[in-house]
């Protein structure tokens, strides 16, 4: 793609999210979301092969539907109550439709089905943008709304469970990452109405972990478990660290990913939602299984191939690795700083 055109699209991507962030009016928020969707579509289809075009078509259709639902809900609310403010979305029907629209935008189960399909058709960089940056604008709207309790908790629990179950039998890394994204978003939405700042922290930490895992896969040029198993010879440090990153995504104690889950479970028990906390904690085990399987394939075992033929040759990587190293450090070692982060964000 021409760099000038590319910079216009990246600018549009930033502009859309910024407009949604700074608006207090639903129409402007909707405009920001639309700019966001429009700007990323050519980036998704930039390699012009049928899979990426199919992915961008699917993305366009779902996002257009979601944006239409958002516009419909906000204008219905304005019609009934005369308010365009984001905080004043008070009518139950429009608030529910709005939440469904935003859930379709971020890929919350049961409206998640587009996410694995779309992510599978993209290259890893665009997939990274898709699963991090594109979540920010809908989340900023969700955090400002008056929410419908039961619908939200139902969708959140369904999302954590479907995120775990869906990823179990996948062999494609991008689909696994999509299901991991669905499960994490379920956690974030679950705690949204009790403690929005906790949602923000979870989103931030999820973004760090996703950044490091996408950069890792990109550096190793792997898109399936098969090629992941063969990529252990490329960089020993990365090979040693990658199970830790994966387990941090899964939420094991000494790693960063444990922090948000810990805080969310503690918040849920403070709200007397012990049953929901138990179910969610158990559903994290489902996700843990496929993270563990990825780390097993990459690091903990040698693949049963004849070594001289399939081993990859080791070169010094030409790619910039600074963001990989920073995000890896953040996603491994941030847990001791969690009280500080909580204090700053609260």
């Amino acid at each position: 793609m021409n760099p000038y055109i590319m910079s216009i699209f990246l600018l549009g991507l930033g502009l859309g999210t910024t407009i949604t962030f700074m608006s207090s009016h639903w129409l402007l928020a909707w405009m920001g979301l639309e700019i966001n969707t429009l700007a990323i579509i050519p980036l998704m289809a930039q390699h012009h092969h049928p899979r990426s075009v199919e992915a961008s078509t699917k993305y366009f259709l779902t996002q257009a539907t979601a944006a239409a639902m958002i516009l419909f809900a906000s204008s219905t609310n304005a019609w009934i109550t005369g308010q365009w403010d984001i905080n004043e979305l008070s009518h139950p029907m429009s608030s529910t439709i709005m939440m469904l629209g935003l859930a379709l935008k971020i890929g919350l189960a049961p409206l998640h089905t587009w996410l694995p399909e779309v992510l599978q058709g993209l290259d890893l960089t665009t997939g990274l943008i898709m699963s991090t940056w594109q979540k920010l604008a809908p989340f900023s709207l969700l955090m400002q709304m008056n929410l419908n309790n039961s619908v939200m908790i139902t969708m959140a629990i369904m999302s954590t469970m479907i995120g775990g179950w869906g990823g179990l039998n996948q062999t494609q890394l991008r689909k696994i990452l999509a299901y991991s994204s669905i499960a994490h978003i379920g956690w974030m939405i679950l705690v949204l109405q009790f403690s929005p700042s906790l949602t923000l922290i979870t989103l931030m930490i999820y973004i760090f972990m996703t950044l490091s895992i996408f950069c890792l896969f990109k550096m190793n040029k792997t898109t399936s478990i098969n090629s992941l198993a063969m990529s252990w010879s490329k960089s020993p440090t990365i090979t040693a660290l990658s199970p830790l990153i994966l387990l941090s995504l899964g939420g094991l104690p000494p790693l960063t990913g444990f922090g948000p889950k810990w805080m969310i479970l503690s918040e849920l028990t403070k709200q007397d939602l012990n049953m929901i906390a138990t179910i969610t904690a158990l559903s994290a085990l489902l996700s843990l299984y496929f993270y563990l399987r990825l780390s097993y394939a990459m690091t903990l075992t040698l693949s049963p191939n004849t070594t001289p033929i399939t081993n990859q040759w080791r070169f010094n990587t030409k790619q910039p690795t600074i963001h990989l190293s920073i995000s890896t450090m953040l996603s491994l070692m941030l847990l001791p700083l969690l009280p500080g982060i909580m204090t700053i964000i609260n």
């Binding site: 055109i5 699209f9 549009g12 639309e34 429009l38 700007a39 289809a45 012009h48 092969h49 049928p50």
Partner: protein
């Protein structure tokens, strides 16, 4: 006036069913044209003639392109219309859905939603749509700038998606 409104809303619903019931592409495009026309008529009846005119011109321009393009791409010897079973079944289903919703919302949404904007004309100096246009050029100037930028961005998006003979994948052949 109520009869005209009734007719327009009916045309709107049937046009939407014509799009959604999955007929051949150019009947769907025809349904879209009907929906656009009827929607603009509804807006005139609600008291927004200027907005309706603008929307009608823009929609008609876009719809003509879509209509010509889909008719050229998907010309078939035996097009499926409402006479075919598959389409007719979908159409009947949607119609039943509309009737159900109508029964459910009968009290609240039936005539009370047909109040035109001009009910308030005694209270304000301008009509609703005209004052909105004036606002867009005065205090809403930045929104206008952003809208213009979005149009430019859309142009780039479309050009980038369809550029090149060999690279473009949005084509049938």
């Amino acid at each position: 006036m109520t009869y005209l409104m009734f007719l327009l809303l009916m045309g709107l619903i049937f046009g939407l069913i014509a799009v959604a019931s999955n007929p051949s592409p150019y009947f769907a495009a025809l349904g879209l044209v009907v929906v656009a026309g009827m929607g603009c008529g509804v807006m005139v009846s609600f008291g927004g003639p200027f907005l309706s005119l603008v929307l009608f011109l823009i929609y008609l321009g876009g719809m003509l392109v879509v209509f010509a393009y889909s008719a050229a791409l998907a010309a078939e010897p035996y097009p499926e219309s409402w006479g075919n079973w598959s389409v007719a079944v979908y159409g009947a289903l949607y119609l039943m859905g509309v009737i159900l919703v109508l029964f459910y919302f009968y009290g609240g949404w039936y005539e009370s939603s047909w109040v035109p904007v001009d009910e308030l004309s005694g209270l304000s100096m301008f009509r609703g749509d005209m004052s909105g246009v004036a606002l867009m050029y005065s205090s809403g100037g930045w929104v206008l700038v952003i809208s213009a930028w979005v149009l430019l961005l859309t142009l780039f998006v479309v050009l980038e998606l369809t550029r090149g003979l060999s690279r473009g994948t949005l084509r049938v052949v």
